[in-house]
Symmetry: C2
Subunit: 356 residues, 2 copies
Amino acid sequence: MAQEIIYTNLVIEAIDDLVASLGTPSVYVIVDVNTAKFVLPILQSQSEAVKNAEIITVLAGDVNKGPDALQKVWKELSDKGATRKSVVINVGGGMITDLGGFAAATFKRGVRFINLPTTLLGAVDAAVGGKTGINFNGLKNEIGAFQDAVAVIISTLFFNTLPMQQMLSGYAEMLKHGLLDDKATLAELMRYNIENPPATPDLLLHLIEKSVGIKQAVVASDPHENGARKTLNLGHTVGHAFESFAMDVEHSPIPHGYAVAWGMVVELILSHMKLGFPSDTLHQFAQYIKEHYGYFQITCEQYPQLLQLMAHDKKNDTPEHIVFTLLKDVGQPVIDQTATADEIKSALDIYRDLIQ
Amino acid sequence: MAQEIIYTNLVIEAIDDLVASLGTPSVYVIVDVNTAKFVLPILQSQSEAVKNAEIITVLAGDVNKGPDALQKVWKELSDKGATRKSVVINVGGGMITDLGGFAAATFKRGVRFINLPTTLLGAVDAAVGGKTGINFNGLKNEIGAFQDAVAVIISTLFFNTLPMQQMLSGYAEMLKHGLLDDKATLAELMRYNIENPPATPDLLLHLIEKSVGIKQAVVASDPHENGARKTLNLGHTVGHAFESFAMDVEHSPIPHGYAVAWGMVVELILSHMKLGFPSDTLHQFAQYIKEHYGYFQITCEQYPQLLQLMAHDKKNDTPEHIVFTLLKDVGQPVIDQTATADEIKSALDIYRDLIQ
């Protein structure tokens, strides 16, 4: 079943039209404690479908995206009489669309679900691509399934409740899609000031639509992540290492999107070293990241630990081969690129010079 | 990915060839305490693939096919280092192929699995059709996924460790496929004496192959159970009611296949009443069931309870419409047939006369 993506700020109409078209006897809305407070009341007061729906609330945050929350959702769906014809609406960030999507994909061997991402990161990233799942045994998304929503409703309506840090975190994924697409798209994104946006909210919706379109095209060509989809890992090999290092070693977590932003700078440096990525574009991009995201502090004493974290990334089967997606130029990704420890250390040196 | 079905009593060769062809770095074998004792040692001593595999053992029986066993399998796969390229081999009855299949389908969003059913029912029924899952919240298969194995190895090699009751239980599903297929198939099945089989074991393997082929053709035409696949519910509306009644009311469980055998007799009577199913075939079939399965005792005082159980079967959305698959003749099923309470009571009366 093809997944429909609806870009609109008329969210209520979109939900009610969708639910009516699905001809379902019953609707179940999954929220976390935040969206229960900030988003659900708006939907309940205005949407016929949500007004009559059963509500399932879970704790917020990735730390709660585990088997306990999964069983809670399964149990409430079961107790509240959901059938194979029911529809689940996931209202929240990536945590809710991952968890709720997986619960729906496995309840009675699969009920239909709609995603209503309420964060920029969720809109751009987690709501498209068919990835659902939970963290398990201390590992992110260790358990899950590939299952598309019947529809994803993308809106900027609920972003005003988000802290700027979370907006910037989502915007990093959009910058990544710009790097994968072409120079015009990247330039358009770098002209838009997410920290001080113009008064036209539709411009952001337009940028999101373009960004999701880029991801969709990649995912459609490779639904099970065997080839082209690896291009979406740009920035993530180094980014994940920064994220884990901040969390586990420094005990001072950084937002995922920030880690990816800094990771992209390092990986563009590697791209320049190994594939001739243009120096001027690298410098402009690094400058943009420095201005908006600041700098993730590392020292050369920490390189061995960072290299070890890169080697343990789940995309890497063997520690000898740390695999990256690199760019020959904007819009020209090359997957399955390896780099030696010395090359990576040089890139980290240059990163520190560039944006410190 | 198409599911391969291999009918062979050269099980060791089949496993080793399959695993070699899958080019996998690691194999995980899921067994219950029974197959760990009776089947696993044979495989470990002779199969290269199983010799080097990690073994995951769970408690036996449908009562243990729940979220705890699921988490145990997930955890051991995770702890023992299974990757997306690993292969899981499920060795056991339907409980193991359901549980292990679901665990594999959801571990890291899906690893490949091979089913080696060790019971007749598992070989005929549970190993084909892509249904995986667990019981949850007191409901059978409440949680699960549609996911084919890469291969199912069907063999009669391990049946000699099974009690006759379990063989007969599996054989009832084969009789059902005979009723759905044609007169020649049904006659062949009714000639074969499962309780006193001829000395040619390959004859049973041949009958299983034919039976699975019938189910495969139905499932292939309707993978998500929206239409033709409902024909496979023949005998099950009444059968499930008998099974639940024996379990929950009389506290004296009966094997699933026995319940289906008696359920088929009642539903053939309904077929005769409503669609003109031939009387002589009905009598021959009832006689066969009486001889091999005996009689499930019911009284007319119990009819209201039995009707209520039929109305609560998961295939029925509303209690007013109890839905059956009935037959115009052998090989001519008609789905979505309803019957009134009076008609069902008459059929139960005739059932008692026929095989008491």
